[in-house]
């Protein structure tokens, strides 16, 4: 594998453009609200262009980590500023930039302190993209924690309905998860034969079984990776909304402002799943092989339970919030398949669900801005007033249902195919597929129910005399997002080729651990 020489620190630009933008934004005078908006849109648009550039410039034939940058930070402790992207992280970087850009566009009309709103959004995006590109464990945690506190302010200041409660709940849940995972990462560091946080080196060590050694805990000899995989994986899975740690999701997603919900469901949950993959599965493959066939049942419960709950929600945002738990459960199922097909499906599902959740929350937000209620019983008939938003919701809904021709189908099909093919791993894997399948039918039901109740039927003109169409910027946001799931639905290889280059080494790592555990 040769790493192409990159003179421009592209990834640093992608990660730090929003951060620097946030700082500059705070220097723009208070009363110049329009200037702040334009600046935020420019910064996020620039970030999106850079991400698209990385996406297109990535050499798929070569695979591996590209656009690598490395600088000393705390060399003595093995802490470096080390970033790079592969087939797994690159789609997620692109996703974050998409959500950031569209999030700024749909927040255009917020009058209350737009400077701070956009600054917190940009800061959050910076942290999130930092997690996706980090190749050093400490750097990963560094960005992971950066991505926590802006969420509190986004929700507590600009949110609605029990916003402070939801904000604090969300922050504490994700914080607890991440710091437990951090302790696991520190334990990994001290048990490793080479004292480093460099994830390349740690992965190499993991492949050679360095973390499969036994350690003594309270007088008991246990395998290190058996012991620590679960805390690390589940610690991150809290952020991914895995049942039974999903409780922050419905409250957080619903209380957040539109852009906040788009971020939370669109990318924040992916940060959790991605970190669980990178730190949990990749660095402790032995633990993954041991535990994932068990963890998969949590995902099955999550998929069924959340779909069933969605079906009876009265609040439109809660419908979408619960649905995101279910869709993220397929990511975990894809991980548990531990083969190329399943992992590809899981990563594609992250991207697909990210775009889909963003468009669903964006359109729901557009309805809420005009109706000032999210109760399904009070809504109806908005299709006539805002056809573009309706189209966006329908497209997002089709992805959520797993309709062929859209990205959701490609992703979920591969997850199911992957888990089915992995029946050598655990005899119950086909049953996992069979048990989880009804959730797809349920998701069709709740999406259609929400669609029917919100957009179709008669518009109550007495209640909503002045409902107008969405703004041009909203339409730009909808199109920017919707393009992707049609594109991937029709030409899956746009993404799958890329993702495969990223997941193949992970699958190989897991197969190696499986062979080792049989021996």
């Amino acid at each position: 594998m040769t790493i192409p020489a990159v003179t421009l620190p592209l990834l640093s630009f992608i990660v730090f453009t929003p951060l620097v933008g946030a700082l500059i934004l705070l220097l723009i005078p208070r009363h110049q609200k329009e200037a702040a908006r334009v600046f935020a849109a420019t910064v996020s648009g620039f970030t999106l262009l850079l991400s698209l550039w990385a996406f297109l410039a990535y050499d798929r034939a070569a695979g591996g980590y590209q656009f690598v940058e490395r600088m000393s930070w705390l060399p003595q402790l093995g802490i470096h500023y080390y970033v790079g992207v592969d087939g797994v992280s690159l789609p997620l970087v692109l996703l974050s930039a998409l959500v950031l850009f569209t999030g700024v566009l749909v927040s255009w009309n917020i009058e209350d302190r737009p400077h701070e709103l956009f600054a917190f959004m940009l800061l959050l995006a910076s942290g999130i993209m930092g997690v996706f590109v980090a190749r050093n464990l400490v750097l990963l945690f560094f960005f992971y924690e950066i991505a926590i506190f802006p969420k509190y302010f986004l929700i507590a200041i600009w949110g609605s309905t029990r916003k402070e409660y939801a904000a604090m709940k969300l922050v504490l849940y994700t914080l607890v998860g991440s710091i437990i995972a951090l302790v696991g990462a520190l334990a990994l560091y001290f048990v490793s034969p080479v004292r480093t946080f460099d994830m390349d080196v740690l992965r190499e060590l993991a492949a050679r079984g360095a973390f499969a050694r036994t350690v003594e805990v309270f007088g008991q000899a246990v395998r290190f990776d058996y012991l620590w995989f679960l805390p690390v994986f589940l610690g991150f899975a809290v952020t991914a909304g895995l049942w039974p740690f999903h409780n922050w999701v419905p409250d957080g997603h619903s209380a957040a402002p539109t852009a906040g919900s788009m971020f939370l469901a669109g990318v924040v949950m992916k940060v959790g799943a991605y970190s669980a993959l990178r730190v949990g599965i990749e660095l402790m493959p032995g633990g993954a092989v041991y535990w994932l066939p068990v963890v998969v049942f949590l995902a099955v419960v999550a998929a069924l339970y959340s779909a069933a709950i969605s079906l009876v929600q009265e609040d439109l945002k809660y419908v979408i919030a619960f649905s995101s738990i279910g869709h993220m459960a397929f990511v975990t199922i894809g991980f548990a398949a531990m083969n190329v097909t399943g992992l590809t499906g899981a990563v594609l599902q992250m991207f697909s669900h990210g775009v889909m959740a963003a468009i669903l929350f964006a359109t729901v937000g557009m309805v809420y801005d005009r109706a000032h209620t999210r109760y399904l019983a009070h809504l109806g008939g908005f299709a006539r007033a805002m056809p573009m938003a309706t189209l966006g919701f329908i497209l997002g809904g089709l992805v959520a249902m797993g309709m062929p021709g859209f990205s959701g189908f490609v992703a979920e099909f591969q997850v199911f195919a992957g888990i089915w093919a992995a029946r050598d791993t655990a005899w119950w894997y086909p049953w996992v597929a069979i048990l989880a399948a009804p959730s797809i039918a349920l998701s069709a039901a709740y999406i259609l129910r929400a669609l029917q109740a919100t957009f179709f039927g008669e518009l109550n003109r007495e209640r909503y005399p002045h409902v107008g169409d969405v703004t041009a910027l909203d339409k730009v946001a909808i199109v920017t997002l919707a393009v992707w799931f049609v594109l991937i639905g029709v030409f899956p290889r746009v993404m799958t080729d890329l993702i495969q280059t990223g997941v193949e080494p992970i699958a190989a790592l897991l197969q190696g651990a499986m062979v080792a555990s049989i021996r």
């Binding site: 705070l26 208070r30 000393s72 930070w73 705390l74 060399p75 003595q76 402790l77 302190r113 701070e116 400490v138 945690f141 560094f142 960005f143 924690e145 950066i146 926590i148 506190f149 509190y152 302010f153 507590a156 200041i157 402070e164 604090m168 922050v171 504490l172 914080l175 607890v176 710091i179 437990i180 951090l182 302790v183 520190l186 334990a187 560091y189 001290f190």
Partner: protein
Amino acid sequence: MVLSWWAHLWSVLPEIVLVLAAALVMAVDAWLPEGRRRELGYWAIGGLVAALAVAAVQAAQLAGGIAAPYEAFGGSVRADLAAMLFRLIFLLAGILTVAISMDFRPLRQSGEYYTLLLISVLGMGLMGAAVNLVTLHLALETVGIALYLLAGYLRDTPRSAEAGLKYFLFGVFSSTIMLYGLALIYGFTGEIAYARIAQALAGLPTPAVMAALLLVLVGFGFKVSAVPFHFWTPDVYEGAPTPVTAFISVASKAAGFAVLIRAMIEAFPTAQGNWVAIMAALAFVTMTVGNLLAIPQRNLKRLLAYSSIAQAGYILIGVAAASPLGVAASIFYLGIYTLTNIAAFAVAVIMTNVTGSEEIRDLAGLSRRAPGLALAMLAALLSLGGIPPLVGFFAKLFVFAAAIESGLLWLAIAGVLNAMVAFYYYIMVARAMYVDRSPEEEKPVWISRPARFTLWFTVTGVLLLTVLVYPLYLLAQMAAQAF
């Protein structure tokens, strides 16, 4: 080895500079007309900066290997990198404290105030350098007496007078107990120098050593406000003039840790097996109690008091790790904590000047009223909470890493859970500033120039040190190895 008179003086040169500065400030106070009293602050800062420059040169020499550590005045003080780094921390705290004192209305800028402050910094410098029991006790008392007076400086305010008296009573009580411990050590060993005590203690039965150790720890525990010796902290912090509170919360605590770390490593190395357990227990109780009691606080200074107790707990984790990494982590943490806590108190000083209140709810609407000030406070709170991109993240990372390295996994887990609790109440303060509204939002907030400097300096510090964490860590590590 016979030292030249210059080598003797060189070892305590920063303190000599401070004595001269204190005398100068007193003299200038007598000469300055009433209207120009405020300038006294600049004289005090001048003295502190001069001492800081001397200490920085000494630290650079020791760090660069140009000078070797040595003991002066018949084994009273030691000139090593740890002593110098701690001096730098005290002096920096002193400078920033003077800067936020200059326009704090109730203090009325008198020469005595600055003189007392300079003398307490002087005593702290000696605490960090002391390597025998007599110097240790003298230095402790020098600092103590100056701080008791400073805490009760606003004689006309009952709360301040109460704080001074309380601080005095608790301080004298714990220092007496400690003195008893020191006497026991001397009685057992017949030695006052740490290194010889360590040799002599090796042959003694454990209960005797432990008795002495525990008594001494009472005094140290009081200084660093570790639970269960923390009862004075909230009342004194609340009652003392806010700049003094800032100073006590950082410099006095750092000085306490300086003597604690040195005494444990140099005088009690043979009892390490025992004191590690004590330190770990102290760390656990201190951070847990501090954090839990901080949650219900409504007064900003009391909240910061409990927070500072909790911070002492995290620093004790590094001490309990009893390893080079642990000691380095503790020193690093103290440096960062000094910078961060002063920032938080600077905001408290400014707000007290403006609103006359120290309640958290009076911070409401601050982000609209003075966005920069709110941002500075947010940065300070998040750094105290160990949230990146602020350097407090690394401070916590190091102590937890040290605990795990030394096999204290449970302590590291307790630490991270505590960090989560702390995050809750720090965020609650931020919530008041950012989420709550207030009718006063339109009124501007006046920030004096020295206070503005303090804020810029500290906040830039906690941001920039994230990037430059390595040199600072290396310094702390070299200091840890110097013991």
